[in-house]
Symmetry: C2
Subunit: 125 residues, 2 copies
């Protein structure tokens, strides 16, 4: 069993989340040791919510679970890359397919280039 | 000009680095405000090295610069995604194309699935 280094960011490692078919980067979240073990045990991406300070099974509210297809670890063993199937088609709480739906233009402004999949008001009430 | 939130991780934001042509995730690094501004100003990916505690122009030692093709920001404005052209073909200091060259198997062991581009002993002496 590989041991990740959770010591660099207060007991957490960043997890990059990528669509397993298209390669689109959908989001970045953080995992504690418990979140990491839960993800491997259940096959559903599980993170540590820094705002709520607890384990967070992605999709527990929206139903948009992330089924883990492949897990990769980096050279330093302090970051993981999850290749997942995104249920519902949207990873972002704003209803966009990806959290990275805004592009930084040359003048420093941002432009929305993302695809809106659902209305967050409908999903989260 | 967009203001990123540098307050969540000791003045840093994670930067996910992706090949602009293939979509392969190459590495994750961190940016300080100075690194962020340098990246935008120069078009060369610049990070903050936590181990050396200073700005780090990726490729300054190896010559393997990362030319920034596109920058995206996430919903929370605390993570960036860089789509880059990797000079020399390898982003990882181990000589692999990607830092994510090891796959976690079902039994928790890891398997090297990465492509070795250069011999790090030759490049870093």
């Amino acid at each position: 069993m590989i041991n990740l280094n959770f010591n660099k960011i207060q007991g957490l490692v960043p997890a990059i989340v990528q669509d397993y078919e298209t390669g689109e980067v959908l989001m970045l979240a953080f995992m504690s040791q418990d979140a990491w073990e839960a993800t491997i045990a259940t096959g559903k991406a599980t993170y540590y919510s820094r705002s709520r300070q607890k384990l967070w099974v992605k999709g527990e509210t929206s139903g948009n679970f992330q089924l883990v297809k492949e897990i990769l670890v980096d050279c330093d063993e302090d970051t993981v890359l999850l290749k997942i199937e995104q249920k519902g088609g949207a990873a972002c709480h704003t209803g966009h397919q990806s959290c990275f739906y805004r592009k930084v233009e040359n003048d420093g402004s941002v432009k929305n280039i993302g695809k809106l999949i659902f209305d967050p008001m409908e999903v989260y009430k």
